[in-house]
């Protein structure tokens, strides 16, 4: 007859059982986060569409996230020299200006 360990008869509580239960719980929670994301996106779709309509009606071009300076308020409209308006070698003045890069360049734009 095969020998049985204390683990096999259920005493004491195996650490691996608790750990695997924690892993399963974590995996379920990660799965739920994706589910929550999907449900929220579906619920928010009309609001996003409304924002897009608002942008189209008012001919807006930028998000109102960085309002501290004009070239960070409308990064897509600012000219490339705005950040250096005081002096060509001047250090960036506004905190977000150091985080917003120069606008994407293109062949058409000067």
């Amino acid at each position: 007859m095969q020998a049985r360990s204390l683990y096999d008869i259920g005493y004491p509580q195996r650490k691996s059982t608790s750990f695997l239960a924690w892993l399963c719980l974590g995996a379920v929670l990660v799965g739920l986060s994706f589910l929550h994301a999907a449900v929220t996106i579906r619920a928010e779709t009309p609001a996003v569409a409304q924002r897009a309509r608002f942008v189209a009606n008012l001919d807006l071009t930028d998000l109102a996230l960085f309002t501290e300076a004009r070239y960070t308020r409308h990064p897509s409209q600012a000219d490339l020299h705005s950040a250096f308006q005081d002096h060509p070698m001047a250090l960036e003045h506004f905190p977000t200006g150091s985080l917003v890069p120069a606008t994407a360049s293109s062949a058409i734009r000067p």
Partner: protein, 377 residues
């Protein structure tokens, strides 16, 4: 298969007991590890959400905007440029925009003043964004007094507060009538801020822009695709910047993990020696240590990722607000939409769980293949 699984479970049991023997050391490691994952995941989730939102919301922004440049700087565009553009094939509409900035010293905030085309606003009336309304404590029927370009006070009556749902794009907006705008800023009658061109076929936009640059050499066209690309770059850049800033913390953690993993303590060496002496195979020792590393890194990933999700999407990434806000007074109240990219999460999982697990195995392998007697001495 059953035998294999039972064996792995016993090894896992042993690994967890081994971790529990030094709780302080391993709990502190788990805490730091989870914090690193939390920070990386928060940045990733937040920037991805903003990037997607910007792409969706700005998808209907003007196809083409024409700005006039004088000496490399943006200048007001004469209204006769609308006639000079003439009839361009593919352009379904063209009109001038009137907008500008106003710094309000009372609250030290910048407003964006704009003349809307989609609504009628009476003389002396304004419609304001929800952010501006809450900063100035204004409601419908209240008056807002601002000093004009000539230094005269202008009193505007608030007739509407823009929908708070659109705060992400309208927080600092102040909409007013065209005549009021021109009087307030002493704006020349024959000028616009820029010109918008509506183009039916998106594939023709670039060609039209090229034609306009030739016809009006002192202008620069801004394409919608460039606006979208700007935002993609802004958030990519921000994410990159934060990752660079975090790199110091990540490197410190890597050194800590590497040191912990490679510099086996005498106690751990003795443990491996004893295990080998009592008959454990090298493979078993490696598997046991693999489970030890996996238990720690998997737990850290789960804790870090889940906390980051709650932080970004339930608490609107409150920790990042000061970074985005800078010195701005007006900051839109918005809750990021969870546009979670599965591939990004998988990448984060791979780069946070896999390296740690591997770094714990390599030095153990070196200790495990040596003679038990030598290891124990």
């Amino acid at each position: 298969m059953n035998h294999f699984l039972r064996r792995q479970r016993y090894l896992l049991d042993y690994s967890l007991s081994s971790l529990a023997r030094r709780p302080g050391k391993h709990l502190s490691l788990l805490l730091v590890y989870s914090l690193i994952v939390f920070l990386l995941a928060s940045v990733m989730l937040f920037t991805q959400s903003l990037r997607r939102e910007a792409a969706l919301v700005l998808a209907d922004s003007p196809e083409l905007i024409l700005q006039r440049l004088v000496a490399g700087r943006h200048d007001l565009i004469p209204s006769n440029y609308l006639e000079r553009i003439g009839r361009v094939r593919g352009v379904s509409g063209k009109y001038g925009r009137l907008w500008g900035y106003f710094y309000d010293p009372a609250v030290r905030a910048n407003y964006t003043l704009m003349v809307p085309r989609d609504r009628e606003i009476g003389l002396g009336e304004i419609q304001i964004g929800a952010g501006l309304a809450s900063t100035r404590g204004l409601g419908v029927g209240d008056y807002l007094s601002l000093r004009s370009a000539h230094g005269e006070p202008f009193s505007f009556q608030v007739t509407a507060v823009l929908d708070p749902q659109s705060e992400l794009v309208s927080s600092d907006l102040l909409l007013l009538d065209g005549a009021d705008f021109r009087r307030f800023f002493a704006y020349p009658q024959d000028r616009f801020t820029d010109i918008v061109l509506r183009v039916r076929n998106p594939r023709e936009v670039r060609k039209i822009a090229e034609k306009l640059t030739l016809a009006l050499p002192d202008t620069r066209p801004i394409l919608r695709e460039e606006i979208l690309r700007t935002y993609d770059a802004v958030f990519g850049w921000r994410q990159g910047m934060v990752f660079v800033l975090l790199m110091g913390a990540v490197l410190a953690f890597v050194i800590l993990a590497w040191d912990r993993a490679s510099g086996l303590s005498g106690e751990e060496r003795r443990e491996i020696g004893i295990l080998k002496a009592v008959g454990w195979e090298t493979g078993d020792v490696l598997r046991m240590k693999f489970w030890e590393g996996a238990a720690l890194s998997l737990s850290a990933f789960l804790v870090g990722y889940l906390l980051a999700y709650v932080h970004v999407f339930q608490y609107s990434a409150a920790l990042f607000e000061p970074v985005l806000k800078g010195w701005a007074v007006l900051y839109p109240a918005f809750r990021p939409i969870p546009f979670v990219d599965g591939l990004q999460v998988a990448t984060l999982f791979f780069f946070t769980v896999f390296p740690y697990t591997v770094t714990t195995i390599v030095p153990i392998w070196r200790a495990a293949v040596t003679d038990p007697d030598t290891v124990m001495r």
